[in-house]
């Protein structure tokens, strides 16, 4: 019971959205609006080589020809792409050489968010806790990446995308856009033109990355969008676990976050990618909040490659996100574990795609959706088997939980089987919290709020167990906070 009580106390201490503060930091902006000049401005600002600029301009031209997709079950007023800043960066004098030179205001922001930017910082109160390397992205730029020296000893490259374009141009050129092509979709194409920063990871053959890598995204500037690009390459036989977190200030306006994440997994390699998405969700009446339109895809190029996506989606006014796996290598496998929670007026349309191309490929999807308030939560997923994917195997379980009369939960799975030895199983249920279970918990002395949290935590347990330990603790608290005020 202690754990439950502790969670309750923790929730009580917190505001509804504790990351909603704005930091007053001197910033440089690109001129408002989007044009070829904006793209050139961003590229010049980052001192990029000519090939990168050409790549961006090509993406921009293609984007002009694309139409904004309307198939997702989300509703929002038309986005005015000219009414936003595409580049916002904290002003810096001459590029900080070490953490000591970073603007103390900026460090204060991360301290407030609880992100350890000092390398010796470890999880408080835990003896021998594992170390985390962090890449901190503030609006459009990466401000600091920790533990780089220690990682370099293992041969691991972990740096911001801008640095990677500068220092590891060949690797970037080889892999960038190879998983998510430039004109893959409207938002990915926009990202390709104006992406400003993000993380780059390369794990050399046979290396097990000595620590967890993580990126922390923060939107601070008003009327700006964040377009980050992450590229992770796990070479033969390597392993990496990567975590991603994000927050934004509370504002009445909607801000666009259109990221692209590409994972390349070669033979016998494994990437574990975990996300705790906590962008500002807007207020109870649905004013403000982040539009989170993200393209994430992993390509299992080698035999026996493995990818595992785990996501806890609690924030954002609108989420539009389908982390996918292309299972190309023989015997490669993909996993997708997801908790998506919507409350108030939030809308989420999220799920995954498991595309079986190679023989004996396996995939597993566990999705738990919870909708409360006036929110709408859709699971949308595709499982397909190519004629050559002999022995392909998929298991999908998607459960939805409804809390309240005004919310909605939808399940839209697509199954395409094109060979006789593929075996696909899918089950889905939609229910509300069981009265019997609530009654049982409450007659054992729990308040209604505690009882709901206990049951919800039980409902999402399968997925929480897949998260790295520190994230799991944070995620469990987030689940409680997100549902606060939804009962009664």
């Amino acid at each position: 019971m202690a754990a439950v009580t502790q969670t309750i106390e923790h929730v009580a201490e917190l505001e509804r959205y504790k990351h909603g503060f704005v930091s007053d930091i001197a910033q440089d902006f690109a001129p408002k609006g989007l044009s070829e000049a904006t793209v050139r401005f961003i590229s010049a600002k980052k001192g990029e080589p000519a090939w990168m600029l050409d790549w961006r301009l090509e993406a921009y031209r293609r984007w002009l020809a694309l139409e904004e997709p309307a198939w997702a079950r989300v509703h929002f007023p038309r986005i005015d792409y000219q009414d936003s800043y595409y580049y916002a960066a904290p002003s810096e004098k001459a590029g900080p050489k070490s953490l000591d030179e970073v603007d103390p205001e900026l460090l204060a922001v991360y301290a407030k968010l609880g992100i350890p930017l000092k390398e010796q910082a470890v999880l408080a109160g835990v003896e021998g806790a594992p170390k985390y390397a962090v890449d901190a992205v503030f609006d459009s730029v990466s401000v600091v990446t920790t533990f780089k020296a220690e990682l370099a000893k293992a041969g691991v490259i972990f740096c911001s995308m801008s640095e990677a374009i500068r220092d590891h141009g060949d690797l970037v050129r080889q892999y960038l856009g190879s998983v998510v092509p430039v004109s893959d979709n409207y938002f990915a194409c926009l990202n390709s033109a104006v992406f400003s920063d993000g993380s780059f990871v390369y794990i050399p053959p046979g290396v097990r990355c000595p620590m967890e890598l993580s990126t922390y995204f923060r939107i601070n500037a008003a009327q700006s969008g964040q377009f980050e690009r992450t590229l992770i390459i796990a070479d033969q036989g390597s392993y990496v676990s990567y975590l991603e977190g994000c927050t934004a200030p509370m504002r009445d306006e909607n801000q666009l976050h259109a990221a692209v994440v590409e994972l390349v997994v070669l033979e016998d390699a494994e990437i574990k990618y975990s996300t705790v998405q906590n962008w500002y969700p807007g207020d109870a009446e649905g004013r403000g909040g982040i539009y989170n339109f993200v393209t994430k895809r992993a390509d299992c190029r080698g035999d026996r490659a493995k990818v595992s996506w785990t996501q806890v989606e609690t924030g954002s006014a609108i989420t539009w996100k389908y982390p996918s796996c292309i299972l190309r290598g023989a015997g490669s496998s993909g996993e997708f574990y997801s908790i998506a929670i919507t409350n108030n007026r939030q809308q989420a349309d999220t799920g995954t795609k498991m595309i079986h191309l190679g023989p004996n490929t396996r995939s597993r999807i566990i999705s738990k959706g919870i909708s409360a308030g006036h929110s709408s939560n859709t699971y949308r997923g595709l499982v397909s088997a190519h004629p050559k994917a002999r022995g392909a195997r998929n298991f999908t379980q998607c459960d939805s939980l409804l809390i309240g009369k005004q919310c909605a939960a939808h399940t839209t799975p697509y199954i395409e089987a094109r060979n006789a030895s593929a075996k696909f199983e899918h089950e889905a249920t939609t229910t509300r919290l069981s009265d019997d279970q609530l009654f049982y918990a409450m007659q054992r002395g729990l308040s209604q709020e505690e009882a709901v949290q206990l049951l919800v935590n039980g409902f999402v347990k399968d997925v929480l167990q897949k998260l790295p330990m520190e994230f799991a603790v944070e995620a469990q608290k987030l689940v409680a906070i997100s549902l606060e005020g939804s009962v009664g």
């Binding site: 009369k405 697509y414 089987a417 006789a420 199983e425």
Partner: protein, 346 residues
Amino acid sequence: MSLARAIETGDLAQLPSRRDEDWRWTDLRGLLRVLPPPSPPHVGWAAPGPFAGLAGREVKIVNGRGPGGITVPAGERHTVALRFIAAPDAGAHAARLAIEIEDGAELVLLESYEGVGEGYVAQVDLRIRLGAGARLERIVMTRDSPDSVSVSKTEATLGPAAALAQTVLAAGARRQRTETRVSHPGAGGASVRLDGLYVLDGKRHADITTVVTHDGVDGATDQLTKGVARDQARGVFQGRIVVSPGADRTDARMGHHALLLSDRAEVDAKPELEIYADDVVCAHGNTVGALDEEGLFYAKQRGIPDAEARAMLTEAFLGEVVDRIGHEGAREVARTWVAKQLGAAS
């Protein structure tokens, strides 16, 4: 946008294409570059239909022409054979029919799509209204020609405490679609059972699409569709259950299970739940795979030859849907149909 409009106007741009979400697996615009000429009137079609001898009355629509409606007066019980026939000279035609089942009436509708001609393109639109406490059992059997395009679209509206039970037996065509949309009032224990079977071989395609909208409290929907695809055939199942705001205590279940018996066959499925009320129990299950190896092994080690064991297991797999048919005569016709389809395909 529909095939019927394209046939009536001759405008191919009216055809649904894969870009239309509901037609993504049954693309007609990409398939039909030209429409055949309009079907001429055809008189004196005498051959018996698949449900011959079971019905008290027969209604024939030949080449899209025939009576415009069927009415079952309040309190009466009828069994009607409704036959849509594409005669040897059929080209393109569209037909509309309204079926009215008044309060407390009962109808067993034995509906058949009989394609004799080749290369025809046809659509049927049915509008079915069930009054309070009315009952309808509908068994739909398709026997379209392999090179035809055939679409049947039904909109059914249920009154309070009405009951609709339906079983579609699809043998496919070049493109074939049986679409059923049900407006379910829930109230007073109205119930819906929507079942489907498809057994496909060659290059046949069959699409079974259903949409059930629960608008009131206490509604129940039970759906079971099973299918077998061999050779280069393609089976499509799209089922959507919508629970409107306030339609509490809805109990809806949907199952789709398919056997893929060839590496060139394809099965596509989209079982959807769209739920706007919280006090509901909704579930769907979907499986696609080959015959169960363990079951085969068991049968074989009991001395049953491989081919026979496969046929037996496949028949048993499909039999579950056949067993749910209420009308005894129709159930036996369906059983024979399954055996014949499997025999023809092996």
